[in-house]
């Protein structure tokens, strides 16, 4: 336990030291919230105030940025530069390392969510959401599922150079298609068909249903099941293909 806490602290230090992580995964969702919120915050989107629609969207975008994209990129870079291999030579158990790494990223996401909700309160006068228990569970479910997918994705990325490219090519279009930034209601049929299989689509529906429409998480069976299933796919791939050593030249 002491070991786990030590590693969580180390991972948090590393997270806060990384400008790339801090900007792309942590600040960017807040920046988009402010920018887009100032453009259509007062419009009505899908029957709710634009800023509130966007707030939930940016929480979803934050989840995929931190738990999926950030985690995958960090893991691939550490694997390819040999950090993971070095760690294997120490007494730090694999489970402690992985748990600590995920905890640090989940914690970063929690801070992100608080930040977005505070921004929403201060800039756009959005009330702090009720059903906080359901919201917390929904966010935890989504973040864990995206972590699973992020770790699973590392199996198909073979180089540190390729990490950002592959990850960005997946999560940025996904965030757009799933409706993190704009309502997907008026997207062409093709795009909506793609969106219909993305885990982020179901995560955003879940978060919006809880935050905007006052639903509790236990009424959201389909959304919860799809998110969990995607997470499980990621975990299965991760367990099968995860490697500690770099791909040799």
């Amino acid at each position: 336990m002491k070991l786990l806490w030590h590693e969580v602290k180390a991972e948090l230090l590393l997270y806060t030291r990384s400008r790339e992580l801090a900007f792309f995964t942590f600040l960017l969702p807040m920046i988009f919230f402010v920018l887009l919120g100032s453009t259509y915050g007062n419009d009505t989107v899908d029957g709710v105030k634009g800023s509130r629609f966007l707030e939930a969207g940016m929480i979803g975008y934050g989840a995929i940025s931190i738990a999926f994209a950030g985690l995958a990129i960090v893991l691939v870079i550490r694997r390819e530069n040999g950090i993971l291999k070095r760690l294997r030579a120490t007494p730090l158990p694999a489970w402690a390392y992985i748990s600590a790494l995920l905890s640090a990223f989940l914690l970063a996401f929690a801070v992100e969510v608080v930040g977005i909700i505070l921004l929403g309160r201060v800039l756009f006068g959005i009330p702090v959401p009720d059903h906080l228990g359901s919201l917390a569970l929904a966010l935890l479910l989504g973040a864990v599922a995206f972590c699973g997918l992020g770790v699973g994705l590392t199996a198909v990325i073979r180089s540190a150079e390729g990490a950002s490219a592959v990850v960005n090519a997946i999560y940025l279009p996904a965030a757009f298609l799933a409706g993190a930034f704009f309502s997907p209601r008026h997207f062409p049929q093709v795009l909506r068909a793609i969106a219909d299989v993305l885990p982020l689509t179901y995560f955003l529906r879940l978060v919006r249903n809880v935050m905007l429409h006052g639903h509790e998480i236990w009424t959201q069976g389909t959304n919860v099941a799809v998110i969990a299933a995607w997470g499980a796919v990621g975990v299965v791939v991760a367990l099968r293909y995860f490697r500690w050593e770099p791909h040799e030249g």
């Binding site: 070991l3 030590h6 590693e7 180390a10 230090l13 590393l14 030291r17 990384s18 550490r78 530069n81 040999g82 950090i83 291999k85 070095r86 294997r88 030579a89 120490t90 007494p91 730090l92 158990p93 050593e245 770099p246």
Partner: protein
Amino acid sequence: MNAIAVRDLRKSYGALEAVGGISFEVARGEVFGLLGPNGAGKTTTVEILEGYRKRDAGQVEVLGSDPATADGAWRERIGVVLQSSAMYETLSVAEMLGVFAGYYHQPRPLDEVVALVGLEDQRDTRVRRLSGGQRRRLDLGLALVGDPELIFLDEPTTGFDPGARRRAWETIRGLRSLGKTILLTTHYLDEAEQLADRVAVLRHGEIVASGTPAELTGTARQTEIRYRENGREVVLHTDEPTRLLHELTEQALGRGQELEGLLVRRPTLEEVYLSLTEEAEAG
């Protein structure tokens, strides 16, 4: 009791046999050098001993355990310096060491590690600002932070300038004097000669010679005597250097001459090594 015992170790990658049945032992407190050209099987051997790779056949015991099934308690007792210096670039030297120290039950005090590898002035420098030699010293520091009994050094000075190599050698000698067992791989012959108590020369996955550096150089070739006579370089090889030298100096003294540039030397390990690998090539 031996720190490392290897018997008939074999490892292939597909059709390529990387290690073809080698045996050696490393005593506690000894510095053992695995010497050989690139692709000789050094790293494969060391990574099996470190627990990174599974062997195909043979027995391996490291600190009394089989590395393939060894646990965290065993890892407390070993220190590993890999060929690549993977670091957290954004941390300082002290932070980096602190992170790794936390993985061990009884880490060596941080300041001691910093002093041991000579990074006192870089203590608060970010890893990404270190020079190549300083990184490699931090690498060694990370392997020492758990105060291990046995240290694996895989080509610890590759890419160093001569000054940095000398300093690294001093550090490694310092570890030896602390009673650590060290398994060193290198393709620098002078490094093995300088540091190792015993050496095994590896070629194509087989040990072609082993012994102390003195034994290797002592048995292989004759002593060489060189001097200049009337501006001409004379080179003699002999099995009886004492007698030959006596004769030469006696003659020179008789003529009232100086043997200019007189040099008496054993063949270096490099020459022995080259002759060994050339023989292997011919065979």
